[in-house]
């Protein structure tokens, strides 16, 4: 029974595909999986927009949306109808074809990323050996669509937003990759199912998730920071900083195309949280050995929603960074820490199973963090800002 519940979606797929002729069955299975993903995550997006608005409101001691439907749960339907009925404006001097393609490219590439993420035991659309590589290749093309949007709009705000976005996303892409590489070093595989298998065993009832190791924790924190920057979420939402750039690269988008950008942003958030869950939080594996009877997909989605909650929590707390702070943080702080973390991971691997590696690896990371933190804070001059050229 427990086994059946765990595999319910897989069994459902097999049962449905069984009605097709034998030649069409592989294709049918893939189409079914794609349709499920394409329906499921936008539905999750719709729910998340309500919960985000309500959560932010609660953080600011307000009630949040509560008018449309019970507890405001039907708000996304109202929002969707609104964005569908709005006029679709394309600026006269915009490059119409690229302007149209940008949101489509964004949503399509973001959806592609979901293909390799395991959402439960045996629940992965395509289990390719280089899944992680595929994911990052798809994630990197989001930058392309952002720049397409900014460039084709022929608007200075859009262009500046796109420039910022590209600078930021490329900088943090490096961090994202380097923090994930530690996991690949440990498991010796780029396949996401293999990475989960490596974490899915227990000692004394506790899981062997990578976050419970010194290098894994450091890697996870850096991954989370880079993921926030990659998805342009607050406090790294400079590309769409509405106080400076109207709406950044999607200033010139209205109606449903704007909704597509919005959808793309949230889908990117889901997929990058899903990947983070897979890499560091054990994917669909249960947090305690005694809880393994709970279906694996419940664990995956609850971990995903937890990370979304942290995203929203950070958005409600932190103010936006300045562009130079953002770049300094990426290149002068996180990147060296990432490099060090790679060394620490290697050390961890070669020190074998002794307890000494826990002490040594933690000590190296803590000393580096504290040292860089103190050094960075000490050098900071606090006082009126000096402008080199504008004075």
């Amino acid at each position: 029974m427990v086994e059946k519940l765990d595999q319910i979606f897989v069994l459902l797929q097999h049962w449905l595909v069984g009605y097709l002729p034998a030649g069409l069955q592989p294709l049918g299975g893939v189409v079914l999986g794609v349709v499920t993903i394409v329906l499921l995550f936008p539905a999750l997006f719709a729910l998340t927009t309500v919960f985000e608005r309500k959560g932010l409101a609660r953080i600011q001691n307000r009630l949040g949306p509560n008018r449309v439907g019970p507890f405001g749960l039907l708000q996304p339907i109202a929002d969707g109808i609104k964005s569908l009925t709005k006029e679709d404006i394309v600026p006269l001097s915009a490059d119409a074809a690229v302007h149209f393609l940008a949101p489509v490219v964004l949503v399509v590439t973001v959806f592609m990323g979901f293909a390799v993420i395991p959402m439960g035991r045996n629940m992965v659309l395509v289990d390719i050996d280089a899944g992680l590589l595929f994911y990052f290749a798809m994630g990197a093309s989001a930058e392309l669509s952002v720049f397409m949007a900014g460039w084709s709009s022929r608007n200075k705000y859009s262009l500046m937003g796109a420039m910022r976005a590209v600078a930021q996303m490329i900088s943090y892409e490096v961090v994202l990759l380097l923090s994930s590489v530690t996991v690949v070093m440990m498991t010796g595989s780029l396949s996401l199912t293999k990475i989960i298998e490596a974490q899915n065993h227990y000692s004394w009832g506790l899981p062997h998730w990578f976050i419970f190791t010194p290098w894994g924790l450091a890697g996870f924190v850096m991954y989370a920071i880079a993921a926030t920057a990659e998805t342009n979420r607050s406090p790294f939402d400079l590309p769409e900083g509405e106080s400076e750039l109207v709406a950044g690269y999607h200033t010139e988008y209205s109606g449903f195309k704007f909704a597509l950008f919005f959808l793309g942003e949230y889908l990117a958030m889901f997929s990058i949280s899903g990947l983070g869950t897979t890499l560091f939080l054990g994917g669909w594996s249960a947090p305690l050995a005694s809880l393994q009877w709970v279906p694996s997909w419940i664990w995956f989605f609850s971990k995903l929603m937890m990370s979304i909650f942290v995203f929203i929590w950070m958005r409600g707390t932190l103010p936006r960074l300045r562009q130079d702070q953002l770049m300094n943080f990426a290149w002068k702080f996180i990147l060296p820490m990432c490099m060090l973390n790679l060394m620490v991971a290697a050390l961890w691997h070669f020190m074998g199973g002794s307890w000494l590696r826990w002490v040594l690896c933690s000590a190296i990371l803590i000393v580096a963090y504290a040292g860089m933190g103190f050094g960075g804070l000490r050098k900071k001059q606090i006082g009126p800002r000096r402008y080199r050229y504008a004075e």
Binding site: I59, Q60, N61, N66, W313, G316, T317, G373
Partner: protein
């Protein structure tokens, strides 16, 4: 320690998040259409025209037209910075709030889509005839006709004025009754003087050509 401030901030927002479910005092907003905050006395939105429901000229309380304090002097129309007031002066004269024959506005329109709520019309009016209202739910489906208020829509009683701005309304009433007493005293003095002088000198004309605030 680096990152300490972030953790402190996260703790603070978490406190707000959970606290807002526990204590209702934390919630600073009200749910507007059902719950309302009583407007402040100094609140102002758009101007309205005051009429006296119980005055010599208007013993019948329901007749807003006779009780209008406005004498169509057109000062507010000229002073209005965005030019949202349109007044048409009457051809004839009618007794005003104090019983003097005066012009009255045959038309008095305010386009509230143009009005910027600056209150200059109120400050320049010598007759205390135009005051600021506190009604703010003025949305309409007709953005031209629906936002152009005529004198019937603008006319509101002095009692209503007392209700929305009690202090200001009391001041205005004091000033008006003072002025009325002064004109009455002057009139009686004039009558006595005329009686004394008899038929020798013709009675002086009443100073109605250029009225000032004290006289109305």
């Amino acid at each position: 320690m680096l990152g300490e401030g972030i953790l402190k901030g996260m703790a603070e927002t978490a406190k707000n998040f959970f606290g807002s479910y526990v204590s209702a005092e934390r919630l600073t907003t009200v749910e507007y259409p059902e719950d309302r905050i009583a407007p402040y006395e100094a609140a102002r939105v758009f101007p309205f025209l005051v009429f006296d429901s119980k005055s010599p000229s208007n013993p019948d309380a329901a007749d807003w037209e006779a009780g209008l304090r406005c004498v169509a002097c057109q000062i507010c129309e000229k002073e209005c910075p965005p030019k949202c007031i349109f007044i048409e002066k009457s051809k004839d004269k009618k007794p005003d709030a104090v019983g003097k024959p005066q012009f009255y506005p045959a038309r008095f329109d305010i386009d509230i889509s143009v009005c910027m709520s600056c209150q200059i019309c109120v400050e320049v009016c010598p007759f205390e005839a135009i005051k600021m209202d506190t009604v703010f739910e003025l949305s309409t489906e007709d953005r031209f006709g629906g936002l152009l208020l005529d004198r019937k829509q603008l006319a509101k009683s002095n009692e209503y004025f007392h209700q929305i701005h009690p202090t200001e309304a009391a001041d205005v009433d004091d000033r008006l009754s003072e002025g009325r007493a002064k004109t009455e005293a002057k009139a009686t003095a004039g009558a006595i003087a005329a009686a004394i002088k008899g038929a020798e000198v013709p009675a002086p004309k009443p100073p109605a050509a250029k009225p000032t605030g004290a006289e109305s």
